[in-house]
Symmetry: none
Subunit: 217 residues, 4 copies
């Protein structure tokens, strides 16, 4: 099914990558918005938000206006902003994640299994990103920590233009397991957004995680 | 529960390490045997065998005499010796494995999950061991390959006195996941034996793998 | 100094990347050639060749016609083609390398130092590239092996769309050193070409390696 | 030459390992001291200190009493304690290092080369040690930072019983170089102490680094 969609945060690096991947898949960009910009050629049937947490209210305003599903990858949302998205999820499907790569979801699944099976092992997280990244630690590292349900130390390294590496370490007396995810291109995230967009347009109203999009749970 | 246990192969490196770990956990060594040695202070309620395949019959003889569960880490067992252990498993719990590290079992579980969820990703295995290791690839790398049920390339590196590192890589277009296990001491295997011992003393008769001890399957 | 330059192999991925980086640095593309294409707006003062070994003679023909320095990153050159470049180097500066990343040159320098200081340590090389790469091992891994002047085992992994990772391992009894280079974008090679171009236009006639461009030796 | 030596910090893990390696090499332990313990069978011709910075004054007291060379691997020394060692170096050879592995010295050499050749690259250090290690970051990580002469961020991970891993990362736009040293046994440090001990007993008075012991500079 061809989706007529809009992107909020259309001028950012992720916004552009998503538009490219959505268009390749045959979907059509009909609405674009950025901080001081707005352009609509047709009414969108889906919104994708990769702008900023501060613009969260404005995004929900757009979504209400169009009455359409929403896929958001905005990072650093506070409790109130999450609540706003959940409320909107009562009337339309909302997919929310800080990371749309399949591999990171698998890293989370493995980490959850290990932390459950190895409760007395030490756990550490490290993440490496490009020197331009402003937040520290990364939203994905925080997602991993949440999944572990443990007070885990996060080490953050900033190097060159690394797209994003995350490692979860488990250390027992006599052995160490490390699970590493490396993004080798930004495209992988855009493909996760595509999957979520195609899920959202036919989903019941609800507030969905990317894990639910992929695995139904 | 405090276990009064015996060790066959008590003078080997693993035998000593196991005794240390079992005693730390509050269990009591009451029977020791080696090729030309035997000492019993009390009748054991469990036997641990880390001797040699050739002594397999003798071990089963001891087990029958004491009528107690058996945990064996003896390597290179032939079909007949395995059959003997399985037969004994009809009357008492027997745990048998060539590798008692919890971490390697976890690496296998994670790898099985990933290969199932990411069927079109590339998979590679690499292993690094000390320069004195004669077999190439390692038995554990072959175990990993078996678990993946795929024709996976194995790279083998031989370096200094590395105890043993194994990595399984999964590569998609845009991301790579790598799962690494590093053995940092022999103690880890002794702890797997401890877990198996505590499992065996309260298990129904049966022939169990180390994976069943850990995960029930 | 602003260089008016030409690119042979202008339509390839490297050709385009190089043009972008050269133009950002203020240089001006005045001549472009590909297999069935040629366009000249002005006579170039430097040629960059990222086409194919088979076109080597044609490239030297262009260079002779313009009487200008040449920077070549063409791979798989045979002895005769190298000889042709060296001969042209008698009248104009020629820079030739199979790898224009500064980091790989540094990896070579470090590896040469370690192999000299740690003669009795084990050495291993591993390289990881995208699944589409046809040669195995990579040309860069072979360059590293040559630099080590030792018969070193090379492990090759093929995973997703990895741009290119190379590791040299040194293993002693009690410690392991590993030196890893990861390419995170093709741009890094284009920047090496830029450095070589700026070197070539003011260099004496000669046949130079990329190491000579960077370190003078 | 057979050395009659003493160890201060004889009951620690390093103290025991050093005694084993020194004795294997034919040297003789004649003096042992720990916080509340002292035992002398003969006057030592060399002292090895692997106790604590707080005991530094006491150690120099012993050295003065015996008038013998000193090899110290005590970590966390303050400026005053270093000054005390230097002063003692005016009369007897003193070797001082926070790390006695050859590999770490090589890591430093490589890092110094890279930081000089790649001045605009980002640099990060990470270190991983066993959960029982009290200081954070490790003395070795601080040594690496000093060698880099840059204000570098250090990430510290504490996992199981890892003997000690150190990585120095260099990140440019388009490539990352990482240099990793992993200790696979504590013995490697004891062997560096042995080398230093044999150096110290025949050296002129002076304050020496382990790099000077190994490379004369």
């Amino acid at each position: 099914m061809k989706i007529k969609y809009g992107i909020i945060g259309c001028s950012g690096r992720m916004g552009k990558e998503i538009a490219a991947v959505m268009n390749e898949a045959g979907h059509q960009l009909v609405f674009s918005a950025a901080s001081n910009y707005e352009n609509m050629t047709e009414r969108p049937g889906l919104l994708i938000d990769f702008s900023f947490a501060a613009a969260s209210e404005k995004t929900i305003g757009y979504a209400k206006k169009f009455g359409c599903p929403l896929v958001t990858g905005v990072t650093g949302l506070n409790a109130e902003q999450i609540a706003g998205l959940k409320e909107y999820g009562l009337s339309c499907a909302v997919v929310q994640s800080y990371n749309y790569s399949v591999g990171i979801q698998m890293l989370i699944k493995c980490s959850e299994m290990l932390v459950k099976q190895l409760p007395d092992w030490d756990v550490e997280i490290s993440e490496t990103h490009h020197r331009f990244k402003k937040d520290k630690p990364s939203g994905t590292a925080l997602m991993l920590k949440d999944a572990l349900k443990k007070n885990v130390n996060i080490s953050s390294l900033r190097l060159g233009n690394v797209a994003g590496d995350h490692t979860v370490y488990f250390g027992g007396l006599g052995e160490v397991i490390s699970l590493t995810h490396s993004a080798t291109s930004r495209r992988t995230f855009a493909e996760g957004v595509l999957k979520s967009a195609e899920f959202a347009v036919s989903a019941e109203p609800g507030f969905y995680s990317f894990s639910q999009v992929l695995f139904g749970e």
